[in-house]
C-alpha cells in the first residue's frame, strides 16, 4: 500500500473517530486533567499525533482506545510539567488526577480494552448542560466539548461572530471552574430536572438545524446530524429513561421527512404537500418502536408525547387521512404536562382538523395574547391559514403580511409570499 492511499484511509478513520469517539476520549481525559482546557488541548494533540502514527504503523484496531491512551498520557505529562507552575484555575470538582494514577496500558502507542476505560461521557454532558450556565452557553459548550466542533463551526451554526462565540465558550468554561460546577452525573433526586436540560439542549440543536434561523437553506444538515448523534449517545448511556427514548424517537420521526420538506427548487413544502413515499421508512420504524416503549408505564413526558404525535403523522397515508382525533388527544396530554403557548398553538391546528377551522381559530385566539408568541411567525401564519380556509381573504392577507414581517428563513418567507399572492388574487 502506498503512502498516499494509507493517508486517505487514515484520514477517513480519523474523521470517523472524531465523530464517534470525541466525547469519550475528551471525557476520559478531563477526569485525569481536572481542567477542560488542558484536556481539550491534549485530545487535539492526540488527533494530530494519530495522523502520523497511524500512517506509519497502521490504523489501530480500536482507534478510540488509542486516542484515549495518547490524550491521557499527554495530560499526565502536562500536569507533571505544570506542578512547578501555579494552576490558573482550580481543579474541576469531581476530578482528581491523584486518584487516577496512570494505568498499565498507558504506555507508548498501546491500545487498551475500551471496556476498561472509564466512560465519563455523561459527566461531560451534564456539566455542559448545567442550569447555572446560560442556555446559549450550554448549547455552545455541548457542541464544542461533546460533539468536538470548533469555535468557528459553532459561530457559523448560530450566526454570531467568532470572537463572540469564543468569548461565550471561555466565559462558560471559567464559570465551571471558578463557581465549582461539579463534573458528575447528578444524584437521582435531581436527575429528572437536570436530564430535561440536557434533552432541551439536544432538541434545540435539532430545531436550529431543522429550520435554520436564517439563510437560504431550510435545513442545516450538519446540526441535525450532530443532534441525532447526541440523542443516540444519550440513548446508549441511559437506555432505560423514557424521555431519552422519546427524544430520539422525536428526532428520527421528524427528520424522516427531511428530503420532502422542500421542493427541487428549494420551496418550502407543508406536511400536506409532501411526498410521503419518500419519507425515510427505516427511521420511522425505529422511531415508532421507541415511541411505543416510551409510552409504556406511567405518565409519558413531553418528548415522548411529541414523538407520539410525530409518529401518527409519519404513519398516516395522507394529511386528510391522518388520525386527527388521536393527534388532538395527544396534544391535550402534552398541554397538561407542558403548558407552553407553542403547544397550545399547535393544538389549535389539531382542533381545526377535527372540529373545523372556525373552532381552531377560536382556540388560537385564546392563546394569541400570550406575550411569548408576540414575535412568533407561526402564530400569524397559522391564523392566516385558518382565515384562508374560512374564506376570509382580506383578514388572511393581513395575517400573512404579519407572518412575513416576522419570518427570518428565506424558504419560509418565500412560502408566505406565495400564499399572500393566492389570497389577494381571489
Amino acid at each position: 500500500m502506498s503512502q498516499g492511499q494509507a493517508s486517505a484511509e487514515v484520514r477517513g478513520a480519523l474523521a470517523e473517530a472524531h465523530r464517534r469517539q470525541w466525547a469519550f476520549v475528551l471525557a476520559a481525559t478531563v477526569r485525569l486533567a481536572g481542567d477542560l482546557d488542558i484536556a481539550e488541548e491534549c485530545v487535539q494533540d492526540a488527533f494530530v499525533a494519530a495522523l502520523t502514527s497511524w500512517t506509519q504503523r497502521g490504523i489501530p484496531a480500536n482507534p478510540g482506545a488509542w486516542l484515549t491512551a495518547t490524550a491521557r498520557r499527554r495530560a499526565l505529562d502536562t500536569l507533571r510539567r505544570d506542578q512547578t507552575l501555579r494552576r490558573k484555575l482550580p481543579m474541576l470538582v469531581g476530578t482528581d488526577a491523584a486518584t487516577c494514577a496512570p494505568l498499565e496500558w498507558e504506555g507508548e502507542g498501546e491500545e487498551a480494552d475500551m471496556s476498561q476505560l472509564p466512560d465519563d461521557r455523561l459527566q461531560l454532558i451534564f456539566t455542559c448542560c448545567h442550569p447555572a450556565l446560560a442556555p446559549e452557553a450550554q448549547v455552545a459548550l455541548t457542541l464544542r466539548l461533546v460533539c468536538g466542533l470548533t469555535t468557528p463551526e459553532i459561530a457559523r451554526a448560530f450566526l454570531v461572530s467568532e470572537p463572540t462565540m469564543a468569548a461565550r465558550i471561555t466565559r462558560a468554561k471559567k464559570k465551571i471552574a471558578l463557581a465549582r460546577i461539579p463534573y458528575r452525573v447528578p444524584p437521582a433526586h435531581e436527575l429528572p430536572d437536570r436530564l430535561d436540560a440536557v434533552l432541551t439542549v439536544t432538541h434545540l440543536l435539532f430545531t436550529t438545524g431543522h429550520t435554520a434561523p436564517a439563510g437560504d437553506r431550510l435545513v442545516r444538515a450538519d446540526l441535525v446530524e450532530r443532534s441525532l448523534d447526541l440523542a443516540r449517545m444519550l440513548y446508549t448511556l441511559m437506555p432505560d429513561d423514557r424521555e431519552v427514548r422519546g427524544l430520539l424517537a422525536l428526532l428520527l420521526l421528524t427528520d424522516a421527512r427531511r428530503v420532502t420538506r422542500t421542493s427541487a427548487d428549494g420551496r418550502l413544502l407543508l406536511l400536506e404537500e409532501q411526498d410521503r413515499s419518500r419519507w425515510d421508512r427505516q427511521a420511522i420504524g425505529e422511531g415508532r418502536q421507541l415511541v411505543d416503549q416510551a409510552l409504556r408505564r406511567g405518565r409519558p413526558g413531553r418528548f415522548a408525547l411529541q414523538a407520539a404525535i410525530a409518529a401518527v403523522h409519519a404513519e398516516a397515508p395522507s394529511y386528510a387521512d391522518t388520525d386527527w382525533p388521536e393527534v388532538l388527544g395527544l396534544y391535550n396530554l402534552l398541554l397538561a404536562v407542558w403548558p407552553s403557548p407553542v403547544v397550545a398553538l399547535n393544538r389549535a391546528v389539531a382542533v381545526a382538523m377535527v372540529q373545523g377551522p372556525a373552532a381552531g381559530l377560536a382556540v388560537l385566539e385564546e392563546v394569541a395574547d400570550d406575550p411569548h408568541l408576540a414575535t412568533y411567525p407561526y402564530l400569524a401564519a397559522t391564523r392566516a391559514d385558518l382565515l384562508r380556509r374560512l374564506g376570509r381573504a382580506q383578514d388572511a392577507a393581513q395575517a400573512y403580511r404579519t407572518a412575513l414581517s416576522l419570518a427570518t428563513n428565506a424558504a419560509e418567507k418565500d412560502f408566505l409570499t406565495r400564499r399572500l399572492a393566492e389570497v389577494t388574487a381571489t
Binding site: 490558573k88 484555575l89 470538582v93 469531581g94
Partner: protein
Amino acid sequence: MAKYLILIYGQESPAPPTPDQWDWMMKAHGQFAQAVDQQGGKILGGEALQPTATATSVRNDGQAVTDGPFVETKEALGGFYLIEAADLDQALAFAKLCPAPGGGVELRPIMDTSGAPPSA
C-alpha cells in the same frame, strides 16, 4: 470545600415587621442554619442589614459622600451569608433553602486570593 456569598435581595417594606413577621423570619433563618449544618455545609458568617434608607455611599472618584445605596435597585440587598459548600450544586441547594420572601438570592463564589492573580 469552597466558599460562597449568598446575597439576599428583596423589596424593602416601608413599615417595620410585625411581631409575627419577625418571629417567622427568625424561625426561618434558624431552620436554614440547621439545614446547612445537617447537610454537611457550614455557615461562616451572616447578617441582616438595616434598610437602604440608612445607607451612605462613598464614590472613589473625589471621595464624594452621598446619601443612599451605591446602586439603586427595586429589590435591595437586605442581608447575606458566607457559607462553605462542597461545590456549586450543594451551594445552590443551600441558596434555595435560604429565606428571601418576595425576593431571591444571588450566589457568588469567593475568590481565592492566596495564590497568583486571577487569569484573564
